[in-house]
């Protein structure tokens, strides 16, 4: 047996190899096909654009090029006697001056964060003759990356391929065994019982049909071919694992059904709002923004809620308010466990409205809210208070009104915002009146009161102001060049002390932080009535742009539509850049030129680009240095702006030791951004330079 196994093993190895090659070949072909399709669709797009341009050009009248007598004629003679020599007058075209080289780039008016690239996307082109040092450079470069795009599967056996390989080989083996059998009978080689055993084993395998595990032979062969992938047993286990999830029912996507669609389900508030909450960037006001990879969820934000007020006026003749005066009692009766995180603040200012007891109730409610939604956040399914089945039963029992899943979900969503203002909720739901809403609410035991109003007038303002100046000064003194990226802090258990990330990175807390509005580390904004362009303005002094939500007197929060703002310290956020033009530089390559004259210290443009990590910048910088052209700009200790692939026209401004512009990293509403300002008065049409160092 051993003797027969040896050539067998070799055969299996060969088989593994050829199968593997075949699979890889298939994969490659598939990939090539994909690339081809992409290429074709790109070509189509380009052709579309070209046709548009061509149509435009066709509209232009073209003046024929005059014959110049001095140029003479051009004669083409043919070797065949039948053809006469062709002569035509030469029309010389005047030379068109060339222009500098440019790699294509995408326009951008705001920084764009990209992730680190662990795979080298392309091997940089170093010219036609690659010098030896270039080769060394490339090798070193590739070492910096996990791999090069495209050759991921080279010598590498992915799970997918592994699975396919095993499957292919197992089919192979069935077929093969029969052949082998015949061959062996012909050769008279094997004993009968061996055959029987074999056959029976095959039958067993056949019986187990789809769920069978291929023979060890295959795994042994694979293991010997790819020793680094593990032993036979390991491979077998892995195969089983790989097989498992495929056979299992796929987990339902964490996708809430569309509330506007026909399959809307009755779900909890958190689930309905989950997508909106998690994807919304509170800093950019956008969903899944380009700049901030992590978005804080809203539940931790304290609600201003002062606006929430009980509606006391009935909304109409059928209003539930006319029927029920017992709501309060109901609410009081609804017993739930209460946890209190915070000590109730001394309400120094008289809170108008509800009584003390109601207040406590509200407090409890908001607490509950917080906990439940944080649970929702962590994606543990909030236990539904009422299972839909029960709900239906009850509905059938006591009311005639049918509630759809969407309506129920919507009610729960709105209840979290409007509380007991059922009239408003009914109006927003649209399809139910407030009486029906009330009845449903009763069922859900969810009649709540308005949560506690956040009271507290700030008594320590004066003190803070003094501290602010000291703080700015301190930051200026010891930070030297250490500027760290700002990340909103979130530590609900303690105030912003030395353990707060904002304090540690010497950043002020911003409005995006989860800390109190009265946090000591918050920047209070300025109260300037002038232009905020001197160090008199605390914002200017702290190298911050005025915050339109903090600085209410300088004009940073007004005139949204006009380009004339009294505050001169909000140009970057408003994008009040100057019109720039692109032309071949007087110094090198391309240059940036200004269209209109500017005053000294006026904002010219923001240096925009991709926001990359320092590590990524190191990797990219190596290549850029080799090309002798770099658009990297250090933003802070954590990030670098790279305008190579994405940017704006200011990226073409050249370096000069005697420049007319300067760059300044400014904190703009929580983001560090690079502003380019005029170092002196600049005339129209001047080329812009700044000191790169």
């Amino acid at each position: 047996v051993a003797a027969s196994m040896c050539p067998d093993k070799a055969a299996w190895r060969r088989r593994v190899k050829s199968e593997y090659m075949r699979l890889r070949q298939l994969k490659r072909l598939k990939k090539v096909e994909q690339v081809k399709n992409l290429f074709r669709s790109n070509r189509e797009k380009i052709e579309e654009q070209t046709n548009i341009l061509n149509a435009e050009w066709c509209k232009l009248r073209i003046q024929s090029i005059p014959l110049s007598p001095s140029a003479g004629t051009c004669t083409v003679e043919f070797g065949f006697p039948g053809f006469k020599a062709q002569t035509i007058a030469v029309r010389p075209l005047s030379t068109v001056t060339g222009m500098p080289f440019m790699y294509s780039w995408s326009p951008l008016q705001h920084n764009f964060m990209v992730e680190d690239e662990t795979f080298l996307h392309n091997i940089p082109y170093m010219g036609d003759e690659v010098l030896e040092q270039d080769e060394a450079f490339l090798e070193e470069l590739i070492d910096n990356y996990d791999g090069v795009h495209g050759d991921r599967e080279g010598g590498f056996i992915s799970d997918e391929i592994f699975k396919e390989l095993v499957e292919a080989l197992s089919q192979y083996s069935d077929h093969d065994e029969e052949e082998e059998e015949e061959a062996s009978t012909a050769k008279m080689g094997k004993t009968e019982d061996e055959k029987v055993m074999r056959r029976s084993s095959v039958e067993v395998r056949d019986l187990s049909s789809s769920k069978r595990i291929p023979s060890d032979m295959i795994f042994t062969a694979i293991a010997s071919m790819f020793p680094y992938k593990g032993t036979t047993e390991e491979l077998k286990e892995k195969y089983k694992d790989l097989l498992d999830p495929a056979s299992q029912v796929k987990l339902p996507p964490l996708c809430t059904p569309n509330l506007d669609g026909p399959f809307a389900k009755s779900v909890q508030r958190e689930q309905s709002l989950h997508s909106f909450h998690t994807l919304f960037c509170r800093r950019c006001f956008k969903y899944d923004c380009f700049l901030h990879p992590f978005h804080a969820s809203p539940n931790v934000y304290k609600r201003k809620s002062k606006e929430i007020r009980m509606e006391t006026e009935p909304c109409g003749a059928d209003c539930f308010l006319l029927q029920v005066e017992f709501i309060d009692q109901n609410v009081l009766r609804s017993q739930r466990s209460r946890r209190r995180r915070r000590q109730p603040r001394p309400t120094s200012s008289g809170v108008p409205g509800p009584s003390r007891s109601a207040e406590e109730n509200k407090d409890g409610d908001s607490d509950r809210e917080t906990t439940s939604s944080s649970e929702g956040n962590s994606r543990s399914q909030t236990p539904t208070k009422l299972c839909p089945g029960d709900d239906d039963g009850e509905q059938k029992a006591c009311c005639v009104v049918q509630w759809s899943g969407a309506e129920e979900s919507l009610f729960r969503v709105l209840r979290g915002t409007y509380f007991n203002n059922l009239c408003s909720i009914a109006r927003l739901i649209g399809t139910k009146n407030c009486k029906e809403v009330y009845e449903f609410a009763m069922k859900e035991f969810l009649i709540h009161r308005v949560p506690l109003e956040d009271g507290g007038i700030l008594p320590q303002k004066k003190k803070r102001k003094h501290r602010l100046w000291a703080k700015i000064q301190l930051k200026k003194d010891n930070s030297s060049n250490q500027v760290y990226n700002y990340q909103p802090c979130d530590h609900p258990d303690h105030p912003c002390d030395t353990s707060c990330p904002c304090v540690m990175t010497q950043n002020f807390c911003e409005k995006f932080c989860q800390c109190e509005n009265e946090c000591q580390n918050r920047f209070p904004g300025c109260r300037c009535k002038t232009q905020c362009n001197t160090k008199q303005c605390p914002c200017y002094l702290a190298v911050r742009e005025c915050d339109p939500d903090l600085c209410m007197t300088c004009g940073a929060a007004e005139h949204w539509d006009s380009k004339v703002v009294s505050c001169k310290n909000c140009s970057i956020q408003r994008g009040l850049k100057k019109h720039l033009l692109l032309a071949p530089s007087d110094v090198a390559g391309w240059g940036t030129f200004i269209k209109e004259p500017v005053q000294k210290n006026e904002f010219i443009s923001e240096y925009c680009g991709e926001l990359i990590s320092q590590d990524e910048a190191d990797r990219r910088g190596r290549i850029y240095d080799k090309y002798m052209s770099s658009f990297l700009f250090n933003l802070n200790n954590d990030f670098v702006v790279d305008a190579t692939r994405k940017g704006n026209k200011i990226r073409f401004a050249n370096h000069s030791v005697n420049p007319n512009c300067y760059a300044k990293v400014v904190m703009v509403n929580g983001d560090h951004r690079i502003g380019i300002f005029a170092k002196r008065a600049i005339l129209q049409g001047e080329e812009l330079f700044f000191d790169y160092r």
């Binding site: 509209k59 009248r61 003046q63 024929s64 090029i65 068109v96 001056t97 995408s106 326009p107 951008l108 008016q109 996507p253 964490l254 996708c255 809430t256 059904p257 569309n258 509330l259 506007d260 669609g261 026909p262 309905s272 709002l273 997508s275 909106f276 909450h277 998690t278 919304f280 006001f285 956008k286 969903y287 899944d288 380009f290 992590f294 978005h295 969820s297 809203p298 934000y301 609600r303 956040n377 919507l410 969503v413 709105l414 979290g416 109006r427 927003l428 649209g430 409005k511 339109p548 929060a557 994008g575 720039l580 033009l581 032309a583 071949p584 030129f593 004259p597 026209k649 129209q684 049409g685």
Partner: protein
């Protein structure tokens, strides 16, 4: 007519040697170098010539261009004001009608300039330098006898061997000898009138040319004295007698010791007027023995048997000065202006005769004028320049070595464009301003001035024309349809700088070598710009469009949509509202929390109809509630937004029918296929991944 004359000092870099006196550069250095280095020196010299050749050629070309199509007139420049002969005095009294009169008058004059007028000659004096006037100036006679003959050369007839010549005497006058310009009164100069009738075609002979023959006789004192008395009173009038040729051919003065000088000037040649109004100084030739036969006559200037350079005769030899006028009235002798001893060089060179006036005195005097205004010591040095001649040495420097020195005598013409600057100051100013490819430094010199010429390395030769021309595609020059905006390449400059008094010191080489601050008078877009996306030339009409005004370039709008599409756990309704909202925010660029209420209302306004049509109202409500959860909007805004949305819903045309269809369709599109799509699409991301 005043045409551009080649001054003889016009210089082209390569042919420098040919003009003027050439001195070998720094002979001491040359000697010290050994022979093997000669080649190197030659090569160096070649480089020097090359360096100067190009700008010189450019300026020669520009000179011609400016003559044909001048961009400006030199006389309008402040430092060339002396070239402007007119004053603006007449402007006040000017009437438009006068123009017609003037033109008519001019036409009348042009039609018969010669026929209706007389030729008036007023003689200033006869100059003979080789005598010593100082020794016996008091009692010596101070005049010579002058006879003027009109010589008519007729066309050859068949039998004639030579051209028939008729000489018509026009008169005799006593002309003062070596007069001093300020002594005699203007009215007292002798003058002669030649009737225009003389120039009319006469009898059978076709006259080919008319010329004036001047014959000056200078006798001994007494004889001359008598003659002076005799002839002065005689005042022979022009005799209309073509037949009296015998008499005219004979010499009148046979007295012993008589010296005779003759000169001839052509008045008409082949019906072309050669002598214009002006002041003339004629160089005369002495005749020793009797009349000179015309055949032997040559016009070389001889003095003491030696050849002299052509202009030397004017300072030395006998010359006759007179003023020539074509005048209508015969009586107005006194009106004839007197020839001043100095005149400009613009006078014509007439026929074969040299009739140049010497002008070096002019130059000197003007230099004195300009210099006298100056206070600086160096100027005073300059003022000590020799009065006789102003020599200008152009010293060509290359690599800080003098390579060549070219001398221009009595010449204040610009060597590159032959412009007569008349003054040294003007010349220097002109050189500096008009020929900025070179650097000119003025160095005072004992004999005049030295100008160091070197190549201006800092010359900005950038193209100052229309930048569009550089890149305009061939054949597209006239491809525009209708009016097109163009880049302005000319500018109106109103600059009133403080004028410093003209002084030669401004041309001296500055000691510290500090360059005069080059203030750009014209700033502007004198270059061709390109589109940043396509690298296509930016046309002037596209100048005002800033491609960066777009906050949300198309690719970014597409990107935000694809990014959201990648989520597998976000449903289609949510995605659609999010995309709409993102585009809305990107379009408006909201930056403040307190803008959000307004932003929501704007959103409803612009996208409300779309939201209703796509059946996204509840998702939109979720979005609003979410915004409220983030503390960004108030419930009042939610209420208002939803009310407005409901309003839009009601106002939509045929809402029910269409909407039911649309609802189904859109529901099918974005809801019914939710599962299919989210599975089918290769979603790469989940929202949960973001929060970790």
């Amino acid at each position: 007519m005043p045409s551009a004359r080649n001054s003889g000092h016009t210089m082209s870099g390569a042919s420098c040697k040919a003009n003027g006196a050439v001195y070998p550069a720094s002979p001491a250095m040359m000697n010290s170098v050994k022979k093997p280095k000669m080649e190197q020196i030659q090569a160096d010299h070649e480089l020097f010539l090359q360096a100067f050749e190009k700008p010189t050629q450019i300026y020669r070309f520009l000179r011609t261009r400016n003559l044909i199509a001048p961009i400006f007139l030199h006389r309008t420049l402040t430092f060339m004001s002396h070239r402007n002969g007119r004053s603006n005095a007449k402007r006040k009294a000017f009437k438009v009608d006068d123009m017609l009169q003037m033109v008519e008058k001019m036409k009348a004059e042009q039609e018969s300039p010669s026929l209706c007028s007389h030729l008036q000659l007023t003689f200033t004096g006869f100059f003979l330098k080789d005598e010593k006037p100082s020794s016996n100036s008091e009692n010596e006679q101070s005049s010579v006898s002058l006879e003027v003959l009109l010589v008519k050369v007729c066309h050859k007839k068949r039998k004639d061997v030579s051209c028939p010549i008729k000489q018509v005497p026009t008169g005799k006058k006593q002309v003062p000898l070596n007069p001093e310009s300020n002594q005699t009164k203007p009215g007292s100069y002798p003058s002669l009138l030649v009737s225009s009738n003389e120039f009319e075609p006469s009898n059978s002979h076709m006259v080919k040319s008319y010329s004036l023959l001047f014959r000056v006789s200078r006798t001994g004192r007494r004889e001359l004295n008598g003659l002076v008395n005799g002839v002065a009173n005689e005042n022979i009038d022009v005799v209309d007698a073509p037949s009296r040729k015998k008499r005219s051919s004979s010499h009148k003065d046979e007295a012993e010791g008589t010296e005779t000088y003759v000169a001839q000037m052509t008045v008409f040649d082949k019906n072309r007027l050669q002598l214009l109004d002006g002041e003339y100084e004629v160089s005369m030739q002495g005749i020793d023995d009797g009349p000179v036969s015309k055949k032997r006559a040559t016009w070389e200037t001889l003095l003491d048997g030696k050849r002299l350079p052509p202009f030397e005769t004017f300072s030395q030899g006998p010359t006759l000065q007179f003023t020539l006028r074509w005048t209508a009235d015969t009586s107005g002798k006194s009106l004839a202006p007197v020839a001043k001893p100095l005149s400009t060089r613009n006078s014509e060179s007439c026929g074969p005769m040299e009739t140049r006036t010497s002008h070096h005195r002019t130059a000197l005097m003007t230099v004195k004028e300009s210099v006298s205004t100056d206070i600086q010591t160096k100027k005073e040095q300059a003022s000590c320049e020799p009065r006789q001649k102003l020599r200008i040495f152009y010293q060509f420097l290359y690599n800080n070595n003098t390579r060549q020195q070219t001398e221009a005598r009595d010449d204040l013409h610009c060597p590159w464009c032959t412009l007569n600057c008349s003054k040294l100051y003007s010349l220097l100013k002109h050189l500096k301003l008009s020929h900025s490819r070179f650097i000119f430094n003025y160095v005072p010199h004992t004999k005049g001035a030295r100008i160091d010429v070197s190549i201006n390395e800092c010359y900005d030769g950038s193209y100052v024309g229309n930048p569009q021309d550089i890149h305009s595609q061939p054949g597209f020059a006239f491809s525009r349809n209708g009016p097109v905006k163009r880049t302005a390449v000319t500018h109106i400059l109103v600059c009133r700088p403080k004028r410093i008094k003209p002084s030669l010191s401004e041309f001296l080489e500055s000691e510290d070598g500090e360059l005069e601050q080059q203030r750009t008078y014209v700033s502007g877009h004198n270059r061709l710009y390109f589109h940043s996306d396509s690298c296509m030339p930016l046309r002037p009409q596209e100048m005002d469009v800033d491609s960066e005004d777009e906050r949300d370039p198309e690719w970014l709008r597409e990107k935000t949509a694809t990014q959201l599409d990648e989520f597998t756990d976000v449903n289609e309704g949510e995605k659609e509202v999010m995309k709409l909202w993102n585009l809305h925010v990107m379009n408006h660029g909201f930056i403040a929390d307190n803008q959000m209420n307004q932003a929501i209302m704007l959103f409803v306004e612009s996208q409300g109809a779309h939201i209703v049509r796509r059946n996204l109202c509840r998702n939109f409500l979720l979005h609003l509630v979410s915004m409220h959860d983030f503390n960004l909007v108030s419930t009042a805004t939610i209420d208002r937004a939803m009310v407005q949305l409901q309003q839009i819903q009601q106002d939509l045309p045929e809402p029910e029918m269409e909407q039911s269809d649309q609802t189904l369709a859109s529901a099918g599109a974005c809801n019914g296929s939710t599962l299919l799509l989210s599975v089918g699409k290769q979603g790469k991301r989940t929202k949960c991944g973001l929060t970790d």
